[in-house]
């Protein structure tokens, strides 16, 4: 089988991902920078502001809003501890109540709130989330530095979750073996695979587990 050549930023078949979060990954970041092939300048450093919607009852759908656009990914499978997520829905604010009712709130796996309007702006949607006991909107900022190691897309990131900072490193690819080699090369074998949803839940106290360090 021919391996798909990964291109950063391009759409590919669903990728597997290893990601972890903690207070520092200086050694992994150094190794990542030394082992990486040159990458396009546009991914050297990227900054983004996002809002994640987390729910107490859901660990399989990851909802984020960036620049007024909503993106929900759903967990598909785990292979050798690596996670595969697929897009579930994409939408934009203002959003039809029908879409919120049929696609968005079911993804949160919480009791459906009463929707009295036909269309909702982002602020109105966030008000519903704020008033729902099982939901929380979390402000997340990311400063991401892109690399490519062993044909896997890698990243070192400073991430602010409601203003408090954690560090994240990741490796993603369609090829499980390439990610596993990268985890070894970056000396991350002992680090738990923690996705964004779990990291956010741990920081905001929705989960009592610890980050990787």
């Amino acid at each position: 089988m021919t391996k798909e050549q990964l291109e950063i930023g391009a759409i590919s078949k669903p990728r597997f991902e290893f990601r972890t979060f903690g207070k520092e990954f200086d050694d992994a970041a150094f190794l990542m920078s030394r082992l990486s092939v040159p990458v396009p300048e546009k991914v050297w450093e990227r900054f983004s502001e996002e809002i994640y919607i987390v729910s107490k009852t859901n660990d399989i759908n990851n909802t984020k809003i960036r620049d007024g656009k909503m993106d929900i990914k759903t967990f598909v499978q785990s292979v050798d501890g690596l996670e595969q997520w697929n897009p579930l829905m994409k939408g934009e604010f203002p959003m039809q109540a029908d879409m919120l009712q049929k696609e968005v709130f079911p993804a949160f796996m919480v009791e459906m709130p009463q929707l009295t309007k036909g269309v909702y702006t982002l602020e109105e949607f966030l008000d519903i989330v704020h008033n729902h006991a099982d939901l929380q909107a979390v402000r997340v900022e990311k400063e991401r530095f892109g690399y490519m190691v062993n044909d896997t897309i890698c990243e070192y990131a400073n991430v602010w979750i409601n203003g408090a900072m954690v560090v994240s490193v990741n490796s993603e690819s369609t090829e499980v073996e390439d990610i596993k080699k990268t985890i070894t090369d970056l000396k991350l074998e002992d680090a738990e695979n923690i996705n964004y949803l779990q990291a956010i839940k741990r920081v905001i106290g929705m989960s009592n587990k610890k980050l990787a360090n």
């Binding site: 900072m165 954690v166 920081v203 610890k210």
Partner: protein, 209 residues
């Protein structure tokens, strides 16, 4: 319950980008000591007057007594050491948290029993596990502090000035170049913002630029 010391007026800021105030303090006065400590904070959305924490197996509560010129005066008292009697939990801790006390099945609780059987199952309660590296200073007859704070593993910095004399705190704040419109943020509020129990400041995104 034993009162620990005279209540001090306090001004505190939190953030990742508070470097200017930190640099000012370090330029003006030498660092006197550094201490590492772990604390567990108990938080509820509705409680803004009581700062409830456990450190080294001892619970203490600080009560917000006064606010003067944007400074806060907290009055500390000791609740007690674990194992803690259920009567104390019922009559002191839960009233301070501002929520209904659940049925207590034990006469007294160890810290782990308290966290596992009382706190973690209460949907109205949140727990922040906090690690602090606290650097102490004296400036202008005020106690000052810079600390690196890990809240459930995530980093934030804090700077604090405190004294029994409110005017002295205001003068010291000025020496550090902290403007009068900078918000005074106490520990419970900072933790609640990180954990989503309190809204972030309205200018949150702007202040991050």
């Amino acid at each position: 319950m034993v009162q620990e010391s005279n209540p001090r007026f306090e001004f505190r800021i939190f953030g990742i980008n508070i470097e200017k105030a930190i640099e000012s303090l370090e330029k003006l006065t030498p660092r006197l000591q550094t201490r590492n400590m772990n604390s567990i904070y108990l938080l509820t959305a509705g409680n803004t007057k009581n700062n409830i924490k456990i450190r080294d197996g001892i619970m203490d509560i600080k009560v917000l007594e006064h606010e003067v010129d944007g400074l806060e005066q907290w009055n500390p008292y000791l609740v007690g050491e674990f194992p803690l009697k259920s009567d104390v939990i019922k009559t002191v801790v839960f009233p301070a948290l501002g929520i209904v006390c659940p049925v207590m099945e034990r006469e007294q609780y160890t810290l782990n029993q308290f966290l596992d059987e009382v706190i973690s199952i209460d949907p109205d309660l949140s727990v922040a596990f906090v690690k602090k590296t606290r650097h102490g200073y004296m400036l202008n007859n005020c106690i000052a502090e810079i600390a690196e704070v890990l809240v459930n593993g995530a980093l934030i910095y804090t700077l604090c000035v405190e004294s029994e004399d409110a005017a002295q705190v205001l003068a010291t704040k000025k020496m550090l170049g902290i403007c009068s419109d900078v918000e005074n943020v106490n520990y419970p509020l900072a933790l609640k913002r990180i954990m989503g129990l309190s809204s972030l400041p309205k200018n949150y995104w702007d202040s991050r630029d």
